[in-house]
Symmetry: C2
Subunit: 325 residues, 2 copies
């Protein structure tokens, strides 16, 4: 621990989601010392949201010895712009869906410490690099398989932000150019429309519709099927569920083969709910990657599942952004 860390040994992490906002105070080893949360959607105005956040934060800040112990704050948020510290047109935030919110500045003024903000997938990549399986790696791609498909791309030890702060939207590369599924972004055929949790549920409905394969999933109302149901069925040896994972993994492997042509990473790291399927998902990803990647890259990249504890990973990732300020 260096002198700076002795004086100010903690950072605040905020995992800002559409439903909940989870705060943690974290030390340099990734131990969460105190945590609290508020409901994101309880506030219509960003001013009220920040006020409620700061009130909740002061309780845990006092628990660790006061604001003087805190170096900085990192925020991981949907549509977060690292360059500007803003949240821009975030569809799932009542106070952020139709404008540009200077959230980093607002927290910084209230707390009197530096605040950095990035999108949630980039925060996960930074978290992985700081506390997780990417420690020591300089070139990797972190892929978040959640409600959507997010990505954080690290090249030469730095997250790629591009000219505008929004680089790394790999959930929106096009995987099906003909008759592709409609994606939430308004286009068709995006990776996210197939390989997110909702994409997996769609695949389940499609496979139930277009095949006669017997399946435990046929006992459910197709409209209500979630990726969790697919996971449970697969755990019971359900053949259709396995086919759904094969399909999902195959597409992810093809996508990673294209990503290798871009930045030739030493590892692809997967994070988020779908990774709970373990080898059921990872095996078809690796197999498909090997089949599809340019020969020059074959056998070079590792395929890893996030080393961060699922429940605290997002807060850890957000907090890690704070160390870099």
């Amino acid at each position: 621990m260096n002198e700076q860390e002795l004086l100010k040994p903690y950072v605040i992490g905020l995992d800002l989601g559409g439903t909940n906002s989870v705060f943690g105070i974290v030390d340099s080893r990734g131990d969460i010392k105190a945590t609290t949360a508020i409901k994101t959607q309880a506030y219509d105005k960003v001013k009220d949201y920040v006020k409620a956040s700061v009130e909740a934060l002061h309780v845990i800040i006092d628990q660790v010895g006061g604001i003087d112990k805190i170096k900085a704050m990192g925020i991981g948020a949907p549509n977060g712009n690292y360059y500007k510290g803003t949240i821009e047109f975030a569809p799932n935030l009542a106070w952020g869906h139709n404008g540009i919110v200077p959230l980093a500045d607002m927290f910084s003024k209230e707390l009197g410490i530096p605040v950095a903000l990035t999108n949630d997938a980039n925060a996960a990549a930074i978290g992985e690099m700081t506390y997780g399986v990417a420690r020591g790696m300089k070139n990797f791609i972190d892929i978040t398989l959640g409600t959507g498909v997010g990505s954080g791309i690290v090249i030469d030890g730095k997250v790629v932000y591009g000219c505008d702060g929004f680089a790394g939207e790999l959930g929106h590369v096009i995987m099906r150019r003909d008759n592709g599924r409609l994606c939430g972004c308004g286009r068709h055929g995006c990776l996210e429309a197939y390989c997110s949790a909702t994409g997996v549920a769609r695949t389940a409905r499609e496979f139930l519709d277009t095949t006669d394969t017997p399946s435990l999933l046929r006992d459910l109302n197709p409209k209500d099927i979630t990726s969790l149901d697919v996971s449970i069925a697969a755990g019971k040896g359900d053949k259709l569920a396995k086919k759904i994972y094969d399909f999902t993994g195959e597409m992810l492997g093809e996508a990673c083969a294209d990503f290798a042509a871009f930045s030739s990473p030493e590892a692809f790291i997967f994070f988020g709910g779908l990774t709970k399927a373990g080898d059921l998902l990872m095996d078809p990803i690796k197999k498909s990657y090997d089949e599809h990647v340019l020969p020059i890259f074959k056998g070079k990249a590792k395929f890893l599942v996030s080393g961060l504890d699922g429940s605290s990973a997002a807060v850890l990732g957000a907090s890690a952004v704070g160390w870099d300020i």
Copy 2:
């Protein structure tokens, strides 16, 4: 000009192609002071190739005042590995197709100056950043439309090399996952199989075969059609030739839309023979990009044609690698 440049005002550039090896001595403004060339394919052994190169080089080195005036040498070569200074399994080089050749070290020992080597597409990107339309840009993608499709990706002012030195193979992202054309890399559906000069000639043959559109190209033996023939026909207002450019540009625009999701560059810069078609190619690229790119990136990236003189661009690009040593 700083002190270092006053003492050693020049770098050597080597554009190493399958047929010719062109050498230039270049100053910091991109003026080529002296130039020479040898036939790459006249040598079976790399030792003989380097010996002949150095003999030819000594003549032009003397012309600019001797080796003391030369800061370094940069090489742009197929399958060049920047990290190692090697050429690895380059299919078009008699002395380089079945092994790893430490070419940078060999030249460095003979000349007594530092030598850096990168692949030809990366050299073009560095050339563009040093002397061309990318001066001052930190985030751009240089796409070379020649016999193949090459790319040099620049992020935060640096070429992306990835974990192994081979990143930036955007000619080999997959654009057609079903019934894609066989590519030189052994896979199917690569961008290069459609949007290289040879890809354009293939498109011409396909369109002649599958449509009844009248065309000047029908007067030629289909087997002999080249991208130059398409260009000449298009210049005469040939409708089929225009359709060929529309098809090529549309696919390049779709590909660039995916690339934007990766690194959100401020510009895409096109280089190589096909760009001579000018707006016939660039207009459909821009139109297709606007139609396909994720809304958040719309209208942000410029589409530019290389500002480097075609005949000397490759040497300039290679020489620019030398300034960075």
